[in-house]
Symmetry: D2
Subunit: 356 residues, 4 copies
Amino acid sequence: MTGNTFGTLFRVTSFGESHGKAIGCIIDGCPSNLALSEADLQKELDRRRPGQSGVTTARKESDRVEILSGVFEGKTLGTPIALLIRNEDARSKDYDALKEVFRPGHADYAYLQKFGLVDHRGGGRSSGRETAARVAAGAVAKKLLALQGIRVIAFTRAVAGIEAQATDLAAIEANPVRCPDPAAAKRMEEAILAAKAAGDSLGGIVEIQVKGCPAGLGEPVFGKLDAELAKALMSLPAVKGVEVGAGFAATRLKGSENNDSYTASEDDQPVPATNRAGGVLGGISSGEEIIARIAVKPPSSIALPQKTVDHAGRETEIAIQGRHDPCLCPRVVPVAEAMAALVLVDALMMQKARQW
Amino acid sequence: MTGNTFGTLFRVTSFGESHGKAIGCIIDGCPSNLALSEADLQKELDRRRPGQSGVTTARKESDRVEILSGVFEGKTLGTPIALLIRNEDARSKDYDALKEVFRPGHADYAYLQKFGLVDHRGGGRSSGRETAARVAAGAVAKKLLALQGIRVIAFTRAVAGIEAQATDLAAIEANPVRCPDPAAAKRMEEAILAAKAAGDSLGGIVEIQVKGCPAGLGEPVFGKLDAELAKALMSLPAVKGVEVGAGFAATRLKGSENNDSYTASEDDQPVPATNRAGGVLGGISSGEEIIARIAVKPPSSIALPQKTVDHAGRETEIAIQGRHDPCLCPRVVPVAEAMAALVLVDALMMQKARQW
Amino acid sequence: MTGNTFGTLFRVTSFGESHGKAIGCIIDGCPSNLALSEADLQKELDRRRPGQSGVTTARKESDRVEILSGVFEGKTLGTPIALLIRNEDARSKDYDALKEVFRPGHADYAYLQKFGLVDHRGGGRSSGRETAARVAAGAVAKKLLALQGIRVIAFTRAVAGIEAQATDLAAIEANPVRCPDPAAAKRMEEAILAAKAAGDSLGGIVEIQVKGCPAGLGEPVFGKLDAELAKALMSLPAVKGVEVGAGFAATRLKGSENNDSYTASEDDQPVPATNRAGGVLGGISSGEEIIARIAVKPPSSIALPQKTVDHAGRETEIAIQGRHDPCLCPRVVPVAEAMAALVLVDALMMQKARQW
Amino acid sequence: MTGNTFGTLFRVTSFGESHGKAIGCIIDGCPSNLALSEADLQKELDRRRPGQSGVTTARKESDRVEILSGVFEGKTLGTPIALLIRNEDARSKDYDALKEVFRPGHADYAYLQKFGLVDHRGGGRSSGRETAARVAAGAVAKKLLALQGIRVIAFTRAVAGIEAQATDLAAIEANPVRCPDPAAAKRMEEAILAAKAAGDSLGGIVEIQVKGCPAGLGEPVFGKLDAELAKALMSLPAVKGVEVGAGFAATRLKGSENNDSYTASEDDQPVPATNRAGGVLGGISSGEEIIARIAVKPPSSIALPQKTVDHAGRETEIAIQGRHDPCLCPRVVPVAEAMAALVLVDALMMQKARQW
């Protein structure tokens, strides 16, 4: 329960309030001799950046990342990699009116109860802005995984009940919703724009797939691979649920329907006929594709008027103006990939540690 | 990702294979001067014990727990509390036929890939039997929470799609399914018995409620309360999904529908009109009831024949005889409570640590 | 600062009061497929056991260790290894007279202040008896290290100012003091027996040597190899100081005297002409022999009368009867080896984790 | 063994190479509502800064610290506090000649073996420069401790065998050696200047005293207060030994001489007549003054010629020019205070966490 540090061997420690001077993180435990540049990180940050399209917030942040340490002549040193992203487009004044009001769905009240004070500007530490640090760290994890043939891909599976029927991975980055089904993507986009126009917001489901993951990763009984993924993904702002493989649908199946029966491969290995387990058995990767899905709630910041209460206990009404995402899924996609990558690198390092 | 240790301040380290000499755990970090007896633990263990009713396995384990250390003259010393449960009814021979066969849905293959060898008897470490240690540790956590007015309750919300409509907490322990809706409980029981008779098994949903939890618990941004709950619950055998509050249903709501608007209480505090957040905002408890649900898959051990492969790569068919649970939910209930209690005690201790 | 758990990847969690039911530990993270039997552990425990010779306590404990889990058909499973040692010769009545008196040099007062209650019998958790669990865990670590060509050796370097001049490792186990200089050993033994006869006790210095350690172990800047060794060794009962290489003597040398200059080996590697660094540079093993020494205070339990105070604040005098070690060094030797072995295994696993 | 993170509840994660862009750290877990400004940190950093006097290096670093997050309107938010110190006076060219040579006493060789590459400029991560981040973090810890009446003081006890006889705490900051005995300070200063003139360097002993520490801190059996202090202090560059209370001198005392006998205070508490235990009993603070001493080796960078070997295995001779400390003690003083403060804050938080 170490608040702002994630991971056991590949450890990311994050910092920064939304409207403070900067956000960033320190990565400790990264193997040495990995080729790493700011461009490697920027590429992923640009996928999370605000202002990419009409379905994301219009807030402008270039989110330029600076590597402060741990890299020398283009290679990681094995020492801590500190990453810094200065905040730029912080219209803190936008938040003055909200300073003394508890925004429904937001963490204002909980933060105030926990800490006794709160940086109200843009949500402070509870802002989704902190996820930029996760994405930067995840970019390093992804490079390490790629060297071992492991690839993490996420996409928008559903928005407001509209589900992708096809899974064409090549289509994902070709539409603003990051949906692998172009037809569904179109309908999702329209729904998001309609909600935005109405001053409202939409939720959705993001799916994560891990390809090329070897069997054997995960640390039962508490550090199971799916348990660590669940923590990693549930720690994202707005995520209210996580499922692996058949997930909640498995609760309506019989054992005879849900079990993945085996056939033999040419080299005499067991091959599951289906993948309802989602690539994890007993908390350990089985060698099959790992599949997880997360429930992303509709953003809490909406322009429609909402009943609320101020710090003095007076009932009031607010309409949150400003620039907010009408649906978080498109920007959650790279963040979910980052968190899954962090878990996998850590699990891989744990497994390597025990090869005697 | 510390495999068999759970928690940061209230730490539980678990051990034991299903058919080895014993299972148990060490609890480290428990406050001193807590009244504690073996009876306190036994009471909870008896709720998890096999052989309670027709809807659970017929395996007989008295699961007698022995406190080896950390308690002196009826009080905790503040030193590690070691708990020991000897294994008794281990019919290891039942498993000889399965020794060289990968059971569909089970962890045999993944364990073998991870460790290079496996204790095949009864699932070894991957057996649900290890959860007895969680329950014993959770009983200590529950006693600590009770002293602070916090209560953790779980129950079967659904079995095979049959959902409890009422939530009468008093009804839970009065039926073998541990369902808070007596009418639904009856239908669930019938469904389970029918599946059992057919050599098959059923899945379901267990809901966890935490009452009396103060606002302010949880350690953002990675150790959010819901993230820790997700890890804790997903680490249970057979759990394939976790959701908090509205969970996956929130993905089909608009922001204006999903946000919990506030009214003012008599003492000028904000009171949410609804609880779609499930008692957690920004990863911190809000003071509302905490609500989580977990997806429990149908047990993998079924009597119906299944296609599979043996260690030599030969395709074969198995029908798992022996004594197995036709539906896990009734026995998962006390285990889920234990895990939630462990998370809450830890979160409470984290918060106390910072009071200056 | 996790009280009763030691290590990051090879984790030992210890439990047990001196006069409770049992002591023991759980080892989590041990690689699988290591040949391991109770005899492997017993061999080391017998070196720590009380009653070995005239210079140790006469308390009789057979210290039989039982492996409860984690080993199957003679091999480690990769799952937690639980070790149990039942307490036998607990003459708890001996301690009744001391129940309400603070014994000088002992931890009674500090424990009472920390926990509000204390198991007074034989020192409870603060007894040196807990080190048996360390030795058992260390025996597993030593087996792992041996497979990588690493050997940990400790011996009594000095007793009451009498210093070993020779370092004949073969001589260590041949005398009851475990001193590598037979002549000095004789004088040490006489000094210890004289102190014992006088109702007093003696301190001494134990030296630890690690042979065959590869360069590259240790985790700067906080987890330096010497820092972890210092913690490990200072956590032993009665240890009041730790030094590495030239240690405190280096404070009286000039840089030109203390630096280990290099010559080239036949295969062009730098070879230090001396080893004042003690095998650690910048907190990382250099490939040279690792050398550490610990200051072991004279045991606090002495028969001579001492002024003290009881729980009610009354001044009184006590003379601690019973069976106590007149000098701890001979029995600290295997314990110090165990702690050094635990550090090294952990450091080795950390290093393996990062090989990409 | 988490390399660059220190602490369990008050966690400091450090980064930065000596001649990279910056050094700094993130403090996670700091209680909220603590008044904190950059000036609070700067005051301590100025005590560690190079170029303070003739007995320290002439390197000029203003070491200006910037708070990037975690503080809002002068108060800590309870969120991570990121601290940044940009590197300025990095004459990296000075090190070009040393790029391919292993400097005796330095970590070059060990780092190269561990990581396969190394930032040779100014020692990279192994430079004492990283301790600035420790001092900044320690300044926060000291503020927290002060609010609880705990004060950490360090000073130079000895240089090259010249020992302080008096302990006048008011004298410490009045002389460049930071020695509490003005007469000894004068002799130490002369010795240091003479060594410097001769192109050589001197070692010494720094003593740490903790005043006002309540009884009850420390987490046996592995996280004992003295064990954590030993790790914290041994992790400092150039430290080769740590002792508590009588330390190594206790090995030459008898039990009857070393035990601290008790008398009763006016309020019936046991008061030790002496403090050979150094304020720690059984690894727990006893309420007495905590006393520790560390052995600081003479700096390895000396102008005198030394035999060594280059990366190609050729024997050569180097004379390290540039600006180096002739004795580290004066600058180690604030760093040792910082590390002790970090340990104490963590131990205090651990203890608070368990008050039920």
